[in-house]
Structure formats: C-alpha cells, structure tokens
C-alpha cells in the first residue's frame, strides 16, 4: 500500500521524523559536495531541528501529511488504470492469440451437456466444493496463485504475477469506501 495510514498524532510524528531524516540526508549530501567540515553532525542537527516542530506539535504536520496522502491516492488511481491497460492489451491479448481450450460446439440431439459430478464423502458436506490443495490462510496469495496456475495448466499466468503484485502495492482505500465489516463496538 502506498498511502499513509489515517492521520493521528503518532503517524504525524513518524511523518515528521521521516521529513527530518530526508532533510538531513539532503543537507549532508549538499555539505559534503560543497566541502564543508563535519557535514554529518551539521546535517543531523539540522534534520533534528526540521523534525522538532512535528514532534512537539504533531498537528503542524497535518497539512503536509494530507497533501502527501492525496498525491499518493491520485498516483495510485492513475497508475492502477494504466497498469490495467498495459497488462490487458500487452499480456492478455498476446496470450489470447494462441487460441482457447474451450471446445464449444453444438451438441448432437442425443448428446447431453451435463458434466457428471463426483460424490463427496459425508464428512466433506460442510465444504461441498472439493479443494484438493487446502492451504493455510497465512500463506498469502503468491503460493495459492502459482499452485493454481500449475495445477490447472495455466502456467503462463505466472508471468502475470509482477503485474498483480504491482496492483496490490497500488491498492489504496478510496475516500468514500466504507470498511467491508466494521467490527466496532458502538
């Protein structure tokens, strides 16, 4: 996720420290290049001064924090769209040129289109769709995705993985999105 967490004093302080650290790095680099004596201590001191107001009065950082978040949200929105276009028109369209596995044909008059279903063991009644690869929840989406691609003969889908990973990194809550299930106590 590239957006910042909702602004509270703790996050504002962290943001302020980051700005201080980044400022210190820039100052050190500048002083080092200009040949000043002891650029490290001077840079650290200036970085500390830079982050001090935000540490003492976190609300000072509200505006830059919101501005950064807004920028990140806009970037996520546009780049997500662009990513979708690229992955569809370049990868999926190219793969689609190889044809389809689906054998669509008109059934003969006496031919049934029903696919016989396998009987499940009684103990599987709670989860009626057979899941041959039962995976622990904490494995994330990488392993299940790759395992599905290999099992189903869609190995090519593994090459979509960098795009999917980028999508997940750019995924950010929209301003009007309600959490799917607020488990809050009212």
């Amino acid at each position: 996720m590239i957006t910042l967490p909702p602004s509270d004093p703790v996050c504002l302080r962290s943001f302020s420290v980051l700005i201080g650290a980044f400022g210190a790095l820039l100052i050190v680099a500048f002083l080092f290049l200009s040949g000043t004596d002891s650029p490290l201590s001077l840079g650290a001191a200036l970085g500390f001064v830079l982050s001090l107001p935000g540490l003492l009065w976190p609300k000072v950082m509200s505006w830059p924090y919101r501005a950064w978040n807004k920028l990140a949200l806009e970037f996520a929105r546009w780049s997500g769209l662009l990513l979708m276009v690229i992955s569809f028109y370049i990868v999926l369209v190219a793969v689609g040129r190889t044809g389809s596995y689906l054998k669509l044909h008109q059934p003969d008059s006496d031919e049934s289109s029903w696919v016989p279903r396998q009987t499940l063991a009684p103990k599987a009644y709670q989860a009626q769709y057979p899941n041959t690869a039962r995976l622990p929840l904490e494995t994330g989406f990488v392993f299940p995705f790759v395992s599905w691609a290999v099992r189903s003969g869609n190995f090519w889908a593994c090459f979509l993985f960098p795009f999917i990973w980028l999508f997940s990194a750019l995924d950010s809550p929209r301003e009007h999105d309600l959490p799917s299930d607020i488990y809050t106590l009212f």
Binding site: S14, L18, V95, W156, L170
Partner: protein, 369 residues
C-alpha cells in the same frame, strides 16, 4: 499450445514490465514513505489496552468502565487517551456539579478521541457536561443508569444519544457479544414490555464471531431500517424505554432531549446504497425510518427530538472506525450548548422563577453559528 502460451506470456510480460518500469520507479518513494511511517508509528505509539480490558463487571448493567483510569485505549486507527473518574465515567465534571447529563453508548463515552477532544470537554458558554456511557451499551442499560442517578437530576438537562446503527435492535438481545446485558422482553404478547436482568452474571455468553456476527448484523439492519415484524417489535420496545426515561426525568424535574446518532452510511447516499446492497435488496431499507419512528414516539410523550443527521455529516466520522472524529465532537459540543441555551431561554420565558422546564417537542435547534 501450453508452451506457445508460456513463451508468448514471457515475451509480452517482459515488454509490459519495461513499459511499467517508470510507474514502478515513481511508486517506490510513495511506498517507502508509507512503509516507514507505519514502522516508525510502532516506536511512537504508547502502550495501549483494548476496550475489553478497561471495563469491569457490574451486577446491574453488565459492565462499566473501570474507575480512575488513565490509559491509552487501542482501536482501529491507533489509540486514544482515556481518563475516568471514581465512578468510571470520562471527563472532568462530576454529576452533582454538571448542568447537562449525556447518556449513551460508545458515542457518549467519546470512543476514538482523547478526553480534551471529546464533546464533554469542548462545550463553550461555560456549560458543564457529564457523560455517562460505555462501549456496547444498549438503551436498556442507559435507562437503568438514568434511574440510578435520578436523585441528582433535578434542574439538569438530560440528553440521550440513541445510536441508530445498533441500540434499537440490541435492546431485545440478552447479550452483547460475550457479555450478558439487560434487555427488554414482551410480556406474553400483550404489547407491554419488561426489563430483564436476571441472567446478568460475570460468566461469558456463548458467542462466536464467525457464526454470529453477520447474522446479528443482518437482523439488526432489518429490525432498524425496514418495515418488518421485527422492526415493529424493535420500535415498540424503544417506545417502552423512552416512556420509562421520560417518566424518570419528569419525576426528577429534568428536561429530556433525545438525539439520534446516525451511522456513517446513513449520511451518504452512495455509502448507504453500498451498505444496503450488502445486506439485501436496497429497496427494503429506509435510512430515514429510525428518525421518523423516534420522532413519532417523542411527540407522543412530548419529548424533544433532535435528528442527528441534520447536524452531522459523513466527514464528522472516523472512516475506519465509525465513531466521531474531533470535528464531529466539536459539532456535538455546539449542539449541546445550543440545546442548553434554548432550554434556559424557554424556562425564562415560561416561568423565570422555576427550574428549567425544558424544550418543546418540535422546537428547532439553532446551532448559534
């Protein structure tokens, strides 16, 4: 075909990645800042407790916040500082010295904000407010508290926050998650109700989040926002409780005002449609129904009713949590000040020598901008 596909996929994805590279390069600083802010936050965050660990068993109402607390309480977006008095209520005021008493659930508790940013600390014009509320309370528990403090209510303005998202339905439930809670029960289909507390004990109620959460959420929504048999029961029980509270306040000589607290989704058409479609057919749900019903009940008992949706907006809430943010608390503090001022004005007009006689049922509230 599989090999051809894989080869084409490799070539096209490499080409695609080349084009995507500039996007990834720009994304890195954003990602790094977000990652580091989250990591650094752990260093600055004070040690906090969950809301469950700051409440204790109470034989009358099931639970209440522990007294003399000064802790950070964790919630969806961090932690907020909670200080409680010797009775377990937040805020500096004590009940005897206050001019207005606010009764309610987590909204009255000020869930999600530090003490100094909660409505009970923000009222201007010298209004002293005491808030009696705890996370998870239903209206039954609030009526029990009102009864318990009734001897100290004379001349005080009583403002009752009714959270539309859950309070109305929860009145009929014997439990709030794992906690046993007083509830109301209809007496043998007579249409009259009684408060039940016999089951209230420290032992936990069998509640399973995975099994019960969605079921309760759906029933709560149908009981509150749709015209069903369940909602008839919900509003009948609500009427019983409002009548009881009105009686207690009249006996004590304290004007009562009921303020409805809308849930966040009620305040935005898109959010409402999104929410309703998750439960069922959006046409079944009416977001204005609770206010209409409460208005009618209050009119019947000549109690002033303030629909919170008129004074609150979507941006007054913490998106990830659903309680008021600092802006929302400021608006509520302003509303309380206005209610109190109008209550005083009214009593001066009717009988200058008397205590406050209260507000008229249909009186509009001017927020004194």
């Amino acid at each position: 075909m599989k090999t051809a596909r894989a080869i084409l996929a490799i070539i096209s994805s490499l080409l695609g990645l080349l084009i995507v590279l500039p996007i990834a390069a720009v994304a890195v600083p954003f990602w790094a800042v977000a990652f580091l802010v989250r990591r650094c936050s752990n260093l600055f965050a004070p040690p906090s407790k969950t809301w469950e660990s700051i409440i204790g068993f109470d034989k009358h109402v099931g639970w209440k916040p522990n007294p003399n607390l000064d802790v950070y309480c964790s919630f969806a977006v961090g932690a907020f500082r909670v200080k409680t008095d010797s009775h377990g209520w937040r805020g500096q005021e004590d009940l005897t010295g206050c001019q207005a008493l606010v009764l309610g659930d987590s909204f009255a508790f000020g869930f999600g904000v530090d003490d100094e940013n909660a409505f009970f600390s923000l009222t201007n014009s010298g209004l002293h407010v005491k808030a009696i509320g705890s996370p998870g309370y239903n209206m039954v528990q609030e009526v029990i508290w009102l009864d318990k403090v009734s001897t100290q209510l004379s001349g005080k303005l009583v403002v009752w926050f009714i959270c539309l998202g859950n309070d109305l339905y929860d009145n009929l439930q014997p439990n709030m998650q794992n906690y046993r809670t007083p509830f109301v029960r209809e007496i043998n289909g007579t249409g009259t109700w009684e408060i039940v507390t016999t089951h209230v004990r420290p032992e936990t109620w069998h509640y399973n989040v995975e099994r019960d959460f969605q079921k309760t959420r759906d029933a709560r929504s149908l009981g509150t926002f749709s015209r069903t048999f369940l909602s008839e029961r919900v509003y009948s029980a609500c009427e019983f409780l409002i009548e009881k509270a009105t009686h207690i306040c009249r006996q004590a000589g304290a004007p009562l005002v009921i303020v409805s607290i809308p849930s966040m989704s009620q305040l935005d058409a898109d959010a409402w449609n999104h929410w309703a479609s998750r439960i069922g057919d959006p046409k079944l749900f009416d977001r204005d129904l609770p206010d209409q019903k409460l208005q009618a009940i209050c009119k019947k008992f000549e109690v002033m009713f303030v629909p919170g949706s008129k004074y609150l907006s979507y941006t007054d809430y913490i998106l990830e949590d659903g309680h008021w943010n600092e802006k929302g608390h400021k608006r509520i503090a302003k509303l309380l000040s206005s209610l109190y001022q109008q209550s005083v004005l009214n009593s001066a007009r009717t009988d200058p020598a008397s205590h406050m006689t209260g507000l008229k049922p249909d009186q509009a509230v001017d927020l004194f901008h």
